[in-house]
């Protein structure tokens, strides 16, 4: 507070009118440290056993102190600004802690079992109650099921998005838009039940990786449509008009101009959708049957999948099973992370360089 009055005293003619009193630049950090101390102190004194409470108290203290101090020194408007800033930072910390805890916990639990042997062996001949075995068959199964689902869902989703953005007028387009929205909300287990009843019970096909990928495709399509639609809308109309002016037919304009322009964003969207279905447990559980051995044919015979593998290993209820479950979870997250990186890479690589 004294610093503030000092600075006004030093250069009154400059500061007056343009700036008001300000907290020093280290103030937010200082207040943060102070409030953490307060949180810990209250936690220790009040013998609160949950660290979550300590954190919440510290957060409250941080927001309160920032607002109070700033209101006193800098005035209401600045105080509100500070309040917003501190709340945003608090939101950031609040979000980071559980998410970081989740990742850390998974790595901590799973890192010990993941090695080359774990990655390239199946569970054939390994007792659930003993150590050993691996995730290869599950990883391969997930890879195939997701690839098949993508091969089905991506073109349908893409074309639907093209229809909605480039052609879509009238009732049909409205209906499609609405039902795509509804489809994003289909519980994954309902999609699983639907394919189970239709494909396996009614049509009489056997359990297979493909049956799983059918359900995954249903879950994937709406996400692809949504993201592609947004990306296509971002393509400037000038590009389309320029193409039409040159006498290029509409379908060629879409294929040669619109889609390539948006390809980066579309790829990202598709990859995010892929990442989303890779982790689906419920629909796969009732469709792929699950297996201990490597099955390289997704169209015939039972296949394993990573989420299902995690679920089964968790249910064995012994230390080896838990370790394998966390190891597989780690592999699954790493796999999804790799896909995400690829998506981002493609997005950067393929998107046309802008003139700015």
């Amino acid at each position: 507070m004294s610093t503030a009055t000092d600075s006004v005293a030093v250069a009154p003619q400059l500061r007056r009118g343009l700036t008001t009193n300000r907290l020093p630049s280290w103030a937010p950090a200082g207040i943060a440290v102070l409030s953490i101390v307060i949180g810990v102190a209250i936690g220790l004194l009040g013998s609160l056993d949950s660290k979550i409470q300590w954190g919440l108290l510290a957060g409250l203290a941080f927001v309160g102190l920032t607002y109070g101090l700033s209101a006193k020194v800098e005035g209401r408007r600045q105080a509100k600004d500070r309040l917003a800033t501190s709340v945003v930072w608090l939101a950031f910390v609040l979000a980071v802690i559980p998410l970081a805890a989740l990742v850390f916990y998974t790595v901590q639990q799973g890192a010990s079992v993941v090695d080359a042997r774990f990655l390239n062996h199946s569970m054939k001949g390994v007792l659930q109650t003993e150590a050993g075995g691996g995730v290869y068959h599950a990883l391969l199964g997930t890879l195939m099921q997701v690839a098949l689902a993508t091969a089905m869902a991506a073109p349908i989703g893409l074309l639907t998005a093209v229809y909605l953005v480039e052609y879509g007028r009238g009732r049909l387009a409205k209906a499609v838009t609405f039902f795509v929205d509804v489809m994003t909300g289909i519980p994954s287990i309902v999609a699983g039940l639907f394919i189970l009843s239709l494909w396996i019970l009614l049509f009489g096909f056997q359990y297979s990786g493909f049956a799983g990928s059918l359900a995954l495709a249903i879950l994937m399509v709406p996400v692809v449509v949504r993201s592609t639609e947004e990306m296509l809308k971002l393509v400037p109309n000038e590009l389309r008009e320029a193409s039409y002016a040159l006498g290029v037919p509409k379908w060629k304009t879409i294929l040669r101009v619109v889609l390539p322009t948006a390809i980066g964003g579309i790829t990202t969207g598709v990859m995010l959708a892929v990442a989303r279905i890779t982790g689906e447990t419920a629909p796969v559980m009732m469709l792929v049957f699950g297996s201990d051995i490597i099955n390289e044919n997704p169209f015939e015979g039972p296949q394993q999948s990573l989420p299902l593998y995690i679920w089964q290993q968790y249910q064995t209820n012994n230390d080896f099973g838990y370790a394998r479950a966390w190891g597989a979870a780690l592999v699954l997250i790493a796999f999804v992370m790799a896909l995400n990186l690829v998506a981002r890479g493609i997005a950067r690589w393929r998107s046309p360089k802008s003139g700015h």
């Binding site: 917003a84 800033t85 998410l99 805890a101 989703g157 249903i218 989303r276 699954l332």
Partner: protein, 326 residues
């Protein structure tokens, strides 16, 4: 077809034109076809759920909407969705109340507050977490979060118990309640809402922002006047995506919640249930009527999702007119 346009002349051009027309119609029909295919799939799912549901309604001695128990395979089949509706909605509301403000905060943090060096990797981390499989959230919730929640629960019971909602009446029980489920769901949907909101905030018109700042607005005033109104439809749409996932979450809820056919406003007490969790837990042992009854509950969840999405659409459509975007 015979009327040739004035610019086109010569056989090659004409053939090109008819080619292009055929190409156009093929492409148009293909893309419209996929749209129609989606409608057909949706109709098939809805039809299939409805058909199976009606099979089960004939074998229900209870009231489908008010009965608490779920005993479709008992000698006197009795089942109802009262508990499931309440549990699904309550846990989703808790998740939304926690996740939406935090997600908007995080999105603003990434788009407007954080130093670029932090913002980029953090944005990436958020995208990544949007893809963490729900089973991992479930295991983490059951094995890690629940033991860490008991302190918070008793604390809230002590100071907020008067609200009735936060009053926990079962002392000594692990906090495997709808409230904890809500928190797990919130953590689960946080990355999704953040990722989409962030992209929307980034698109806020630079001119508006700079104009606001030039008029002497503080950063917060700039955000309130230029960014938030622009981003509102996007945030709502993102929240709906998150809500959709929260409503239909299966495995995470099944591992965390201590379910029971009890409808209680004491959200901190173990008990309650959700649609997806109920389907997952009962399907394996269900008989013929049991399976149909579960389909009926799936239909209700489907309808709830439909209503929520329709409402969100309407809100977004109306807001757009006032938002001044575009």
């Amino acid at each position: 077809m015979t009327s040739s346009p004035p610019v086109a002349s010569g056989g090659r051009a004409r053939r090109g034109r008819s080619d292009s027309r055929r190409g156009d119609s093929i492409f148009f029909n293909l893309s419209r076809g996929s749209g129609v295919l989606l409608l057909v799939i949706m109709a098939a799912i809805a039809g299939f759920l409805t058909y199976r549901s009606f099979l089960s309604f004939g074998h229900n001695e209870g009231n489908f909407f008010t009965t608490f128990e779920w005993l479709p395979d008992a000698p006197v089949p009795t089942f109802g969705i009262a508990v499931l509706v309440f549990g699904t909605i309550a846990s989703s509301i808790i998740a939304m109340v926690i996740a939406v403000p935090v997600a908007v905060g995080v999105a603003l943090f990434i788009s407007h507050y954080a130093p670029r060096r932090i913002a980029q990797p953090f944005a990436y981390l958020v995208d990544l977490l949007a893809a963490v499989p729900s089973i991992v959230y479930g295991l983490w919730g059951a094995l890690f979060l629940v033991p860490h929640m008991s302190g918070l629960t008793s604390w809230m019971d002590e100071y907020l118990g008067w609200t009735y909602i936060f009053d926990s009446t079962k002392t000594g029980a692990a906090p495997r309640s709808l409230f904890t489920v809500g928190i797990v769901l919130a953590i689960m949907i946080l990355p999704i809402i953040t990722a989409v909101s962030r992209e929307v905030f980034k698109q806020a018109p630079r001119m508006h922002e700079e104009a606001a700042l030039a008029l002497g607005a503080t950063r917060w005033e700039m955000i309130r006047t230029a960014v938030l109104p622009f981003g509102r439809p996007g945030v709502i749409s993102a929240s709906m995506l998150g809500l959709g996932r929260a409503l239909g979450e299966t495995i995470a809820v099944a591992t965390v919640l201590s379910s029971s056919p009890v409808l209680s406003l004491h959200l901190m007490d173990p008990g309650g249930g959700t649609f997806a969790q109920n389907i997952a837990l009962r399907f394996g042992e269900a008989g013929e009527n049991g399976r149909n009854a579960l389909m009926a509950s799936g239909l209700v969840l489907f309808v709830i999702t439909l209503l929520v999405n329709g409402a969100a659409r309407m809100i977004i459509a109306r807001r757009k007119e006032y938002s001044g975007a575009n």
